[in-house]
């Protein structure tokens, strides 16, 4: 509990990636990641005013090649939409272009964002077993989906900036 508090405190002005593992399944490689962040007051108000927020996860897997530029095996992104139905007073969370879930409270909805289901990032043929890949993982609030004035505002307003550092780790394909 104490550790969690520390993590949330640290994540007050950004997103922390607290877990990141890649699992090899029969369908392909899946990313299992957990993020930690808090919505600041401004964002919460905007959300509860009916403005949808979008969180994009971006993952890149490269294989270092000493003789050439790195081989970019995987580069994919997934955007999760979080919005609030002002009339029904429920939160909806869903990957863009897919089914969405409904939650009664913000915490439940945020938890769904923070702990997204396993994400198929690559099919089996995409990675060569036995090779080591550098994985770069990033999660951020996607401003692309914001309205233009807000994008402008977000350029120099930290309230609208919610992003993780690039998390880099090595994965050995199985």
């Amino acid at each position: 509990m104490l550790v969690l508090a520390c993590v949330t405190a640290q994540a007050a002005d950004g997103i922390d990636i607290t877990r990141n593992t890649i699992e090899s399944t029969e369908a392909g490689y899946r990313l299992d990641a957990v993020y930690a962040f808090d919505l600041n007051v401004g964002l919460q108000q905007a959300l509860q005013g009916g403005m949808p927020l979008y969180f994009t996860t971006e993952i890149e897997m490269t294989r270092p090649r000493w003789y050439w530029a790195d081989d970019r095996a995987v580069f994919t992104r997934r955007t999760v939409r979080l919005d609030y139905d002002v009339l029904a007073r429920v939160y909806h969370v869903g990957v863009v272009g897919s089914v969405q879930q409904t939650f009664d409270t913000l915490d439940e909805a945020l938890l769904a964002v923070k702990r997204q289901g396993r994400w198929l990032i690559a099919s089996r043929g995409d990675l060569k077993p036995g090779e080591s890949y550098n994985v770069t993982l990033r999660m951020f609030m996607d401003r692309e989906y914001l309205r233009k004035p807000l994008q402008i505002d977000a350029l120099n307003n930290s309230e609208w900036r919610l992003t993780s550092h690039k998390k880099t780790f090595t994965y050995r394909a199985e």
Binding site: Q45, V86, L87
Partner: protein, 770 residues
């Protein structure tokens, strides 16, 4: 400003204009621009930065030129400041006003009242939906109570009746979510997917088991992404439009011991309520969103305005540069032209191709420089003509034999020619700019000249001899003490005043007439000699006869001693009278030389005949003849020429006789040669030269200048008539004679130039030359 910078500015301004237009259009919500807004913004900022760079480069160039005082930079700077000011100031004003306007107007859109109204409206909508939901809950409870204890069939009837009463769908489910009985509109209508999609989830059932049951409003979501996720909401056209329906799940109050069953009722929100609520919530969301983004909006507007202002400013400065350089160009050309004219370059300037006043100005400027050029070249031509005339005059002056000295009004020497220096024997440098009196050796000359001018002035003042504007005077100048020659120079000088208009001064022209004086002296001597000879010769014969008679008569009467004395005395008298007679004969011969009878004569033959008398044809001979072959015949009197050669050879031998024994071997050269010369008429002529050169002591300087004057001799027993005689004969032959000491200082040389050649000889010589 270079062409590159200029074009860059123009292109930059054009790009900036386009970008600004796009940026302005981006303020409304077109999706394309929305997407590329950031890119657009970045490009605009980049262009602005580039233009800023260009402007800075231009300004820096201008500044450095201004600092360096480069020509035209001041005008350029003023014009640039002026035009930039004109461009920037209105833009600045508009910018300020726009910023104020934007800041205030955006704030004024968002009002607390509107917000409160929207909030209330939303709450109203929520309340209405809640009301409908609680109504549905109440009827669900009622129906559940009805269903309690009934079997599936009974329940289906109840459910069907419920649906008939206006319910969208009604389901009876077991605790594990299995459908026991159902009734629904869509089933009746036969459209839409199966009821599975409407089945409550386990979570819902779990919640329904709680007191209060499960009651939700559904379907408001999914507006933004139709297609996949929205399948459940699409089964009804109405639902799709409003997207709102109510779902209630309650537990059927069955008697204890029976497996729990759940009743789910679903009902669409009434259409007008649903659509109104939807509109309201949309508006509310929009409002909230805009309220959130107003800062961004203001930033965007102000940012656009600032960018516009910057681009406008840079454009204005760039335009100012363009306009200023365009305006300044002709002026600079003109100014450059005036400077070039001041420096003497009168070449035409490039014409500015405009038909305004500036173009006319450059054209007339070029016309002016053209006229200046004409005038100057005319002046140049005149000057060149004057200079050549002056050079000609100077050349004449320099080469004339008479000496010329020009004095200014104060008596300082202004100018003098070479002849003057030669005659006066002073250096050129010694004369210029100094008064004549101050020049060493010319004191007497200066005094004489001054006196002569004074006398002339006095005469002019006395009003006499107006017809003669010059004086003429013979001036004797003592030789300089340093020179070996101690004879005076006799000058015939003429002086005149320069007209006042030219610059008052004096001009003195003089000739060395020492030779003339010498010739006059010769003539006078000849006359004196002739008379003296006549007068002296007459008494000589009686004297001689008387002396002989005295000896003859008295010799016998005297004692031997007396007779001896007498004989000595009379002998002396007779001898002396004889000598005197010879001398007088010489004088007479000199004075009364017979005129030469000229006939063609071979000079070489003559010389050989004479030399026969002198030569012993052995090594002891001192005379060596070097006779040119093919010497043309001359016109001459053989007798007289023979005397000339005799005289000269005698002189040479006499000179050699006196020489000290330790000197080199005595030698006399007799040389003849033909001389070709260019006559005054331009034709070539031939002359014969006879030179007799010895290596004796040479002429004494005192003798040299007067060698041809009679009775001038260096010999103890000479009459001094030898050379004068020679001179006289040569003159009779129309020849020229020169005596000089050899240039190496040892010996004398006498050279005779015979100009009159025998006509056939001349002809032959000419033929030979041809």
């Amino acid at each position: 400003m270079t062409k590159v910078l200029r074009y860059a500015l123009v292109v930059g301004s054009a790009i900036a204009l386009i970008l600004l237009f796009l940026l302005a259009s981006a303020s409304d919500n077109s999706s394309f621009l929305d997407r590329y807004f950031s890119v657009l913004l970045g490009v605009t900022v980049t262009v602005a930065a580039v233009m800023l760079l260009l402007v800075i480069v231009n300004l820096a160039r201008l500044y450095s030129r201004y600092k360096a005082g480069r020509f035209g930079s001041r005008l350029m700077a003023r014009l640039v400041l002026l035009f930039a000011g004109i461009g920037i100031l209105p833009g600045l004003v508009i910018f300020m006003v726009s910023v104020m306007f934007v800041s205030h107007s955006i704030e004024s859109w968002f009002d607390v009242k509107i917000e409160a109204a929207l909030d209330s409206g939303l709450k109203l909508g929520q309340a209405a939906v809640d009301e409908a939901l609680s109504d549905l809950g109440a009827s669900a409870t009622t129906i559940a109570t009805t269903l309690a204890g009934q079997g599936d069939e009974g329940a289906r009837i109840v459910l069907a009746r419920t649906v008939d009463d206006g319910m969208q769908s009604a389901m009876l489910l077991s605790a594990d979510g299995k459908l026991l009985a159902t009734a629904g509109e869509e089933r009746r209508a036969g459209i839409g997917p199966g009821p599975d999609s409407d089945l409550p989830t386990a979570q819902m059932l779990k919640q329904a088991a709680m007191p209060g049951g499960y009651a939700r409003t559904e379907g408001a979501s999914g507006r933004d992404f139709h297609g996949n996720g929205g399948a459940g909401e699409e089964h009804n056209g109405l639902d799709a439009a409003t997207g709102l329906r109510l779902r209630v799940v309650v537990i059927v109050p069955d008697p204890p011991g029976v497996a729990p069953r759940y009743l789910q009722l679903m009902q669409g929100v009434p259409v007008n309520l649903a659509s109104n609520a939807e509109v309201l919530s949309t508006a509310y969301t929009e409002y909230r969103e805009r309220s959130e983004s107003r800062t961004g909006l203001r930033k965007m507007y102000i940012g656009s305005l600032i960018l516009t202002l910057l681009l406008a400013i840079f454009g204005a400065i760039g335009g100012a540069f363009l306009i200023a350089s365009n305006l300044a160009q002709p002026l600079l050309v003109l100014a450059e032209g005036t400077r070039a004219v001041a420096e003497g370059d009168l070449s035409p300037r490039p014409i500015v191709e405009t038909n305004d006043e500036l173009g006319t100005l450059t054209q007339s400027f070029n016309a002016m420089t053209g006229q200046l050029f004409e005038a100057r070249s005319a002046v140049e031509r005149n000057r060149a003509a004057l200079e050549s005339a002056k050079a000609h005059l100077e050349s004449v002056l320099a080469n004339m034999s008479a000496g010329v000295i020009v004095l200014d009004a104060d008596g300082l020497v202004v100018n003098s020619n070479d002849a003057a220096h030669r005659i006066l024997q002073v250096g050129i440098a010694a004369l210029a700019g100094r008064p004549l009196v101050a020049i060493e050796g010319l004191e007497a000359f200066a005094g004489a000249v001054t006196r002569a001018f004074s006398a002339q002035s006095a005469q002019s003042a006395a009003g006499r001899r107006r017809d003669r504007s010059y004086w003429q005077q013979q001036i004797e100048i003592p030789r300089r003490p340093g020179t070996e020659d101690d004879h005076d120079i006799t000058l015939l000088a003429r002086g005149s005043r320069l007209p006042v208009g030219v610059g008052s001064g004096f001009i003195v022209v003089f000739d060395d007439i020492s030779d003339v004086i010498s010739a006059q002296r010769s003539v006078a001597w000849g006359e004196v000699a002739r008379r003296l000879a006549h007068e002296i010769k007459n008494p000589l014969t009686p004297i001689q006869l008387s002396a002989e008679r005295m000896q003859m008569k008295l010799a016998d009467r005297l004692d031997p001693q007396g007779a001896e004395l007498l004989r000595k005395g009379t002998d002396t008298i007779v001898n002396q009278v004889d000598a005197m007679k010879r001398m007088v004969d010489d004088f007479r011969d000199y004075a009364k030389a017979p005129p030469a009878v000229l006939s063609p004569l071979d000079l070489n033959d003559l010389i050989e005949q004479i030399l026969n008398l002198y030569l012993a044809e052995d090594d002891s001979d001192v005379i060596h003849a070097v006779l040119a072959p093919n010497l043309p015949k001359v016109m001459g009197d053989p007798t007289q020429l023979r005397q000339v050669i005799h005289n000269l050879l005698q002189n040479a031998q006499d000179a050699l006789a006196d020489r000290p024994p330790q000197d080199a071997e005595a030698r006399v050269d007799v040389v003849t040669e033909a001389i070709h010369y260019v006559g005054a008429d331009g034709g070539t002529g031939t002359a014969v030269r006879l030179a007799i050169v010895d290596n004796g002591p040479g002429f004494a300087p005192k003798i040299l200048s007067r060698a041809f004057e009679p009775y001038v001799t260096s010999k103890v027993r000479g009459t001094g008539l030898g050379l004068p005689m020679v001179k006289k004969i040569v003159d009779e032959h129309g020849g020229r004679i020169e005596v000089a000491n050899r240039s190496d200082g040892s010996g004398a040389s006498v050279s005779i130039l015979l100009l009159k050649l025998a006509p056939e000889a001349n002809l032959a010589a000419n033929l030979e030359d041809a």
